[in-house]
């Protein structure tokens, strides 16, 4: 995200003014999450808040463009280019079965012992009764489309 505005910097596309305060808020939240102390947390837990805000912010842009159709293609591309949203994650959300995907790590079978997806991808109905899971990658408690 470029912070320096020069005379050559292109002005952002129209509609930016409406979404800018929300994105700034997300940015502030992300800063707080980054600076949060990790004492009292497990090692895997330390990155969960960052992953959550990252997901929320991408979801916000995705919602505006694909669901509510409130922003223009130009503005959407601008946001992706400035890393306000994760393009790869959004690409997954557009696919069937991945509508609620929590993070890209959770569908990476090469990273697991048995070549499977993460536990949070298992539908609630398939898990044993009364079991709550939190995946180690992002603390997701279940992101199957059927949940």
């Amino acid at each position: 995200m470029p912070k320096i505005k020069t005379s050559r910097t292109k002005p952002p596309p129209s509609g930016w003014d409406e979404i800018e305060p929300t994105l700034l808020e997300f940015e502030q939240k992300m800063r707080d999450a980054e600076n949060e102390t990790s004492t009292g947390k497990r090692r895997v837990e330390s990155t969960w808040s960052v992953m959550r805000i990252h997901h929320q912010r991408s979801r916000y842009i995705y919602d505006l463009f694909y669901i509510r159709k409130a922003i223009s293609r130009k503005l959407y591309d601008y946001c992706l280019k400035r890393n306000y949203a994760d393009g790869n994650l959004i690409a997954k959300w557009r696919k069937q079965g991945f509508e609620k995907l929590c993070c890209l790590q959770c569908i990476q079978p090469r990273d697991t012992n048995y070549g499977t997806a993460c536990i949070c991808r298992v539908p609630k109905a398939k898990l044993e009764e009364g079991r709550t899971v939190e995946c180690v990658h992002c603390g997701c408690r279940g992101c199957a489309s059927s949940d």
Partner: protein, 338 residues
Amino acid sequence: MSKNESLQTWEDSEFPILCETCLGENPYVRMTKERFGKECKVCAKPFTVFRWLPGRGMRYKKTEICQSCAKLKNVCQTCILDLEHGLPVQVRDSALGLEDAAPRDDINRRHYMENQARTDTPLDFSGRANPAGREMLKRMARRGPYYERNKPHLCSFFAKGTCTRGNECPYRHELPKADGELAKQNIIDRYHGTNDPVAKRMLARSSAKVDGLAPPDDKSIASLFLVGLTAETSADDIKGYFYAYGEVKSVNVVPAKGCAFVNFKTRAGAEAAAQAVIGGCVIGGKSIRVAWGRARPKGPRADAPKPTTAGAPPPPPGSTRAMAYPSQDPTAQGAQPK
């Protein structure tokens, strides 16, 4: 020891040596294998670690000791219990009278293991040479696999009241039983069969059970009760076995139940026999459990009418439906025995 043999060879195995309980209920268990993943907790050599989940709601288990150490004692690589009986090493060794011949110290131990691997007569842990001990082990062993053992460990934070993970905590949220003695266990002691609190307790309990063969107070009882006979065992076989301890008045065999009563002429004969067959005896190749007989009820048998335990009275005429709620059940009124 030649130079080649003394070279430390690291264990690289394809399959672990495990007991049924540790493997869990599911026959389609999947495991991860890590070559030289950890050091053996007994001999400190690197070995191949296997890790698997023994069923739903259980904890992940892994192999703790190397295969050469496990073979040396015929124990499971994970739970260090005997592979045949599922009992602690100390219990098995004291029952079968086995000596711990393996040296503890590093180089001697390695040499001993190499010799063991080369020998044609491997160590015999089956107890075929010691039927009484084998019988005792059989009595102490569990009938089937005991999967409770695979449950997650207790949450120590919960015990202190500081677990913040709540429902997501993978450890068991139960308070530990106030059993300070059993809490002091370690793998090395359990492996070598020295001061293992579990084994100590089992042995104490088993000797208490043997005391159960103490002669009853009623001096008129001079009969022993045998269980576990085969159909081929005849009264003569039994008589022949017990005649050595005292004159046998009669032998009543109940072939349908596989049991028999041995009536001695004297109480002393019965006591001598009971003393000798502590831990069971072997008649006709089959091990048999022995207990004291019961006193015959004296006097004429009172044929007391049995309390009627017939079911509920028939429903009132005209009603076709079954009872809809509990208060309609006349047996639930409290007047009749259920």
